[in-house]
């Protein structure tokens, strides 16, 4: 895909704000709802958010590092996706019909880890940081700036694709969290 840098950042910012609003609303609900499991092995809302927090623990500093390493540009060139980055980003996207089931790496799987309600506060702080980083990213070359992926440090994908992957991943699990909170507790 090719897209103007500013347009991409705007879209991702909008999506981030949308996810923040969903979670801010969940924050108002009773804790019992946040612990509902749609099926016994499914994640509850808190676990969904903790999963996102763990990715944020890796990616937020990594994204910041990638931005700092690059020169500031008044008018960055258009963003073109790399094939691998595009693959990851599309993998995460929530499609109209169904959401693909995927296994998480063990250290990012919070199931049974007794996640407490502060996971929401932590997530909301991470979202604030993400908005700041998106703002900063608007002034760097999103192709030349690269971020090592969490599962393979020798693989570095374009910052633009990292941001897409990261934000779509958040959307995916935020929607999952909302669904879990509104499900009938089977767990």
């Amino acid at each position: 895909m090719q897209i103007a840098s500013q347009t991409l950042i705007k879209e991702l910012t909008s999506l981030t704000e949308h996810c923040t609003a969903i979670v801010a609303e969940l924050h108002q609900r009773p804790e019992s709802q946040l612990r509902r499991r749609p099926t016994p092995e499914a994640w509850n809302a808190l676990e969904c958010l903790e999963h996102l927090n763990r990715y944020g623990d890796y990616y937020l500093p990594a994204i910041e590092k990638a931005i700092i390493a690059r020169p500031r540009l008044q008018a960055p060139p258009p963003f073109r996706s790399g094939w691998l980055g595009n693959y990851f980003a599309n993998l995460m996207r929530v499609k109209e019909t169904k959401v693909k089931k995927m296994k998480s790496p063990a250290d990012k799987n919070p199931f049974g880890a007794d996640v407490n309600v502060l996971a929401i506060d932590r997530f909301l702080k991470q979202q604030e940081r993400l908005l700041v980083l998106l703002g900063d990213a608007a002034n760097v070359d999103l192709v030349k700036a690269r971020v090592a992926i969490s599962i393979a440090p020798w693989i570095r994908i374009r910052l633009g694709d990292t941001l897409r992957f990261f934000v779509y991943h958040i959307e995916r699990h935020v929607l999952q969290a909302k669904k879990a909170a509104e499900s009938r507790d089977e767990g």
């Binding site: 623990d57 937020l60 502060l118 506060d121 932590r122 702080k125 991470q126």
Partner: protein, 176 residues
């Protein structure tokens, strides 16, 4: 002659409101305005700062401690800290207004308040040095000198956070 500590305790006994917290209850949450000064009669609490990436314990309190979200209490600004009961905790609470009244009406109480503030400042300076002490073992020693019974009152993971080390490192230091 009553020690300063005893005087303070009787002040809380006389004017403080009793409140009990269950384990996991928050005395204060980030964003709330702190208007309470807590004297811990029994139990234990931790005061921590939540960042995007971790919960950092900055203060521990148990029997005999006085705790509050100090900045918020003094300035009226929203609290940056959470204070959580880490087990069932019984406290006596002096509200900000009650404290102000007491301090204004009685010079002895004013002196006690000043002494409490001075002690708190000294603790802050000690803590600042804790944080820049490079050796984990030395950080532990400094804190144990101030609070010898810490491990009997507080779970290891919170002490480790307070000391800015992993629970594994803390265990290793204790066992060596």
């Amino acid at each position: 002659m009553e020690s300063f500590k005893d005087k303070l305790e009787s002040l809380f006994n006389q004017y403080g409101v009793l409140k009990t917290f269950s384990r996991g209850d928050y005395l204060t949450r980030e964003g709330e305005t702190e208007t309470s000064l807590y004297y811990i009669e029994s139990g234990a609490v931790r005061a921590f700062y939540l960042s995007e990436h971790e919960e950092s314990v900055i203060r521990l309190g148990y029997k005999g401690s006085i705790i509050t979200s100090l900045s918020s209490f003094l300035t009226g600004r929203p609290s940056d800290l959470y204070i959580e009961a880490i087990r069932k905790t019984s406290t006596r609470i002096l509200s900000k207004s009650a404290l102000r009244e007491l301090v204004n009406q009685d010079i002895d109480t004013l002196r006690q308040y000043t002494t409490l503030l001075e002690q708190t400042l000294i603790q802050q300076m000690d803590r600042e040095i804790d944080l820049i002490t490079p050796s984990p073992a030395e950080r532990l020693e400094r804190v144990l000198n101030r609070s010898p019974h810490l491990f009997q009152e507080i779970p290891l993971k919170y002490i480790a956070s307070y000391l800015r080390m992993t629970p594994e490192t803390l265990s290793r230091i204790r066992n060596s």
